[in-house]
Amino acid sequence: MSDIADILSNASFWVAVLRIATPLIFGTLGVLLCERAGVLNLGIEGIMVAGAFAGWLAVYAGAPLWAGVGVAALTGAAFGLLHAFLTVGLALSQHVSGLGITLLATALSYYGYRVSFPKVNTPPTVTPFAPMEWLQLPVLAAQTPLTLLALLLVPLLAWVLYRTPAGLALRMVGENPQAAEGQGVSVAATRSGAIVAGSALMGVAGSFLTLSAFNAFFFNMVNGRGWICVALVVFASWRPGKALLGALLFAFFDALQLRLQQSGDAVLPYQLYLMLPYLLSILALVLVARKASYPQALMKPYRKGER
């Protein structure tokens, strides 16, 4: 037990927690936006890959870091537009469309990487975001500006969702699209907008991996983080504040398993530690299952005039 106390009293542990949480915060907020508008977006896993690749490639080609983040957001938005066309425009299965987008975005990114770098053994690197040493705060000063952005997005998104007409419209089309249409809200436009915005956040989540956490693009680098975000949103009851809490809690356990794995007296095979994040996500889903209050119209396609 003293091991764990040692780990927890070390500031670098908390730095790691916040770093691991950052892409999950972007990702869960992205999923939350889509689902609050009534659309499941399983494209997240692939959109994160595409964001990670496109953002990194832009910076590698000479663009400034923030432009890279912008490119990642635009890439995410483009896939979001495709998802919106398929699930809102054509009212196709949200499950299958999302999976299709994940497969497509991943394949396109890997293809693009191989076309751009046909014969590299060591991945080319960029200079990533630097920690914000000017910030006189412990733990946060060791993070990059993207983490600060993620943390600031939480209250911003909560404010938009609960305090603005646009947020109200978004929640309405996710709960009762017929009623929203009756109030003069365009379900198609609102849902599409939410998907595009949410997917842009997913793209940014991916770019954090290549432009901040690491400095290169690797295959399999997203490694299920997207699916974990989908689970975290259920755990967070579709609320931004709880989503932040969920991401931090999850990152806490993930960082802890990494430290335990590295501590000298690890008795179990390292794979069992690595399983923990996925097991926790499933556990979280089961725990909240009974009282989960899904957006009422989630996964229900809406065709104007059809019931």
Partner: protein, 353 residues
Amino acid sequence: MRLERRHRSSRAALLLAPVGAVAFTLLVSALLVLWAGAPVGRTYALLLQGGFGSVFAWSETLTRAVPLILTGLAATVAFKARLFNIGAEGQLYAGALAAVAVGGLHGGTGFELPTWLLFPLMMAAAALAGALLLLGPALMKSKLGVDEVVTTLLINFIVLLGVSALLDGPMKDPSAMGWPQSVSLQSELELAKLVAQTRIHTGLLWAAGLAVLVWLLFKYTVTGFDIRAVGANARAAAFAGVPVTRTVVWVALLSGALAGLAGAIEVAGRTSYVTLDMSPGYGYSGIVIAMLAGLHPLGVLAAAVFVAGVLVGADTMSRAIGVPTYIADVIVAASLIAVLVATLLTQYRVRWK
């Protein structure tokens, strides 16, 4: 833009939908070939040749199609009942591990049972392993309302890590020079070759036979009818007296078992041991195949051969002309999206106004 339901969709349109979708996909993918700086015509010609252009190409394609038929069937069965089993990848590995656990050369000899007994035991263990792996998510879905897509996806990662741990530990082949690889199967348990000098094995007959069985199940049995009813409208099916939970459990067991068998047959027919890269995403490709086939068990055969041909052909093409093999994954993924749209157009008419 508005969609208007067609009164009836023609049979020709239903058959043409996947063909049109694939053609559209190839057209769009041509842009990617151009990006790689390769001539489009020659690239596709090489791809076609590599997948279907010779006896050797066909043998490789059909070998690759075996696991794809089985994962395609696994997805078909599950999706018919609207149980979105995305865990075929994990179930495949679980089946492969179970097969080696029963039929492997542990301690040099393995279980000393007659082959006629050990072979069915091995297949049953693989089917059971896959089935049980999907049972959890299916129960969580029907009892707790937990979305099965997310749970099955997460379980894939858990299974792969579990396989990795076992290949480092209890199931490791001590003679494999530190490479994570399981012990081999007893050689009597390996499937016979269908054609000499090729890799094609009798697993193809197993896969095709199972496709016919699944087709018969849907067409002629009450269970098959129940599955389709649950998929069409679970609430209406419940009102009509269909045991919904029981049907979903059956579907889960069947779908998981098919994916588990995919793993066992890969081991018995091709690799003879388990490695961490024995499946380059066969579980996920199975979903594409099921959708390309319009969830028709016999259509799965054709769709699996198509996808296998693209994957095999891309390898050959890439070696010859240097376009990355990932073009195959792009084509497969884009076909999925295109076929979704094409199928919709057989049911709905687009009205522009």
